[in-house]
Symmetry: C2
Subunit: 272 residues, 2 copies
Amino acid sequence: MEPGPGAQAVPGRWGTVVCVLTGASRGFGRSLARLLAPRLGEGSVLMLLARSAAPLAELAAELRGGGTGAGLRVECVAADLGCEQGLRTAVAALREVLPAAPPGRLLLVNNAGSLGDISKSFLDLTDPDEINSYFAFNVTSALCLTSTALQAFGKRPGLSRTVVNISSLCAIKPFKNWALYCSGKASRDMMFQVLALEEPDVRVLNYAPGPLDTDMQLLARTKTRDPEMRQYFQSLQESGHLIDCTISAQKLVNLLEEDTFSSGAHVDFYDI
Amino acid sequence: MEPGPGAQAVPGRWGTVVCVLTGASRGFGRSLARLLAPRLGEGSVLMLLARSAAPLAELAAELRGGGTGAGLRVECVAADLGCEQGLRTAVAALREVLPAAPPGRLLLVNNAGSLGDISKSFLDLTDPDEINSYFAFNVTSALCLTSTALQAFGKRPGLSRTVVNISSLCAIKPFKNWALYCSGKASRDMMFQVLALEEPDVRVLNYAPGPLDTDMQLLARTKTRDPEMRQYFQSLQESGHLIDCTISAQKLVNLLEEDTFSSGAHVDFYDI
């Protein structure tokens, strides 16, 4: 049975896991890290990646001190996945840690992402550097980290490997002024569908977490160029329809525990 | 009534058009250029873009000499849209030619594209430069050329603007070893859906031309890593299911003439 959203974590329930989580320092990533840590058993490694070192270190200290598993190693990698050097740092960390990790399960969550400049219309998107940077961060880094992690962890009999793409409704539905975000998310969803086809023994999930109560939603309701769109996001907040990160992260944890999703599927918070 | 695939072009039928076509030197682009040229009326401009100058110049000479419209100006822009300098050259050409073009219709066809290295599996895609280059050519250049062309042509009352994205079944369906192509095409489709939402007076079409009998299909059946996929593409050819570029380009011309497609729609060769 799937545990309900309010279920308590059973320490170490997932056995030995190497868990890699990008965008871990705040918002959905941080909430997810807090839910995952107590589930990781003796010998597990939790690798947290984010741009900012300080909040990452704070979170790591909190998780280490949580008494949720003396055998859990929490590693922090401060790297800006949007720049060449940052991605190289992250890739090197995966190549160092993963092959040496104890046999068990690999869980990679590609959560890092950005909205792009939503104060611009499609017609304002004329700067190649801006667009290339957006795709480098939001698409290339997710692809490179996933291929690197799967290679570095290797295909060992009896070991399970799961890759999660934090997706969005925007992967399947266009929104005004969100050309970069929508096309980046559509691109990622498709990429992970191809992975699911190619690697039937890797479990692949495109999870759309719903409209979360995060800094990104604050940007959405204040910076989106189109006034009707701003109004729409404003009304989501005012009517209490924004979702708490922990609630949505718990649904993802439930999906992973239940492990019955069709590999490569796009699963939305509201579908389950 | 829509003219059938075998219908003869009526010279100048489309009035004065500024037509911009990327990837014009061969395959689908060249076939399309040959069908478009005789439809462009007095004062029209046909801008052909491609990487290779020689076949572009040859095509231009052929079109100019076709006697299909003494008033048609054919411009060639040799530019590699996958590199910074090439995109800059193309953008500069649009900014020079479009504002000075006579009032009429703008038709931009984003046809240029590449397959990526399909001899690789998803797990082999670990080089950020390779992936960034792929998206720079296949996504960024289409976005920049479209925004630039629409800006440069301007929104003038009574003038119509149409943007075509040459899409693929791969935009909506994953294929093994085609992670870059599928995710690039998915990204483009979504991007143009956002454009359709933002600019209701721009007609936007995502046209999937079907499996064309081109060099790209030759690559598909010889280089795709997965043997079953190679076999599938081989059988498409052997059973005569590859589509002649002119047949598919004619269907696109019919769609544009009929002009009843829903803006932003994905329309496949086999749908019509």
